[in-house]
Amino acid sequence: MSMLHIVNKSPYERNSLAAAVGHMKDGDTLLLIEDGVYAAVKGGAVAGQLEGKTVSVLGADLAARGIAADKLVEGVAVVDYGNFVDLVETTDKSQSWL
């Protein structure tokens, strides 16, 4: 049993990332999309919240925001919409932390 936690808002605008991370269990995956991708930028104040979590980031949203791969926190997986669909399939359910 595992959950996909989807965060789409910037962690500097809203508490959605903290809420997601606060409710994640072992085996869950965090997926950052839309403005949520800013959480994965190295050196950001919230980067520590991702430690120890399985994190995927939507590449299309990174590219749109001009965030290059070398600017990302270690260990996050860059995915496309197809992988997003796969994540929905391989987890039991999703929780959108809006």
């Binding site: 049993m1 959950m3 508490n15 809420a19 606060g22 409710h23 994640m24 269990k25 359910k93 999703s94 929780q95 959108s96 932390w97 809006l98």
Partner: protein, 135 residues
Amino acid sequence: MSEIKKFMYVNRRAPYGTIYAWESLEVVLIGAAFEQDVSLAFIDDGVYQLTKGQDTAGIEMKNFSPTYSALGDYEVNKIYVEKESLEERGLTLDDLQHLVWEDEDDDWAEKDSIRLVSRAEMADVLADQDILFNF
């Protein structure tokens, strides 16, 4: 053949500043007719939806807070409220409406609908659901 699924409606927004709280409740009320295993979760600013003493006369909006007390009649009686979300906002259970339901299997005894849970317990409750609605 239709199995019964565990439906949870997750509420994380305050009332009135946006419509999400009210339109979420509308889904709960319609959903009650579908006889699934329904729970509500109030996390973060969602806990503000349940506070007592809401008076919307000045902002000329419909005060929908009485609807929460009707949930028991719709057999929606598992209402999880997150303890840390209350504490962070300087609230206690006393600030919230006292929501109850009548258990027909127990001589119509009146029971509390609100289940106060910690963040860690709420994570377990979420993990236990089949579907999570967010608004």
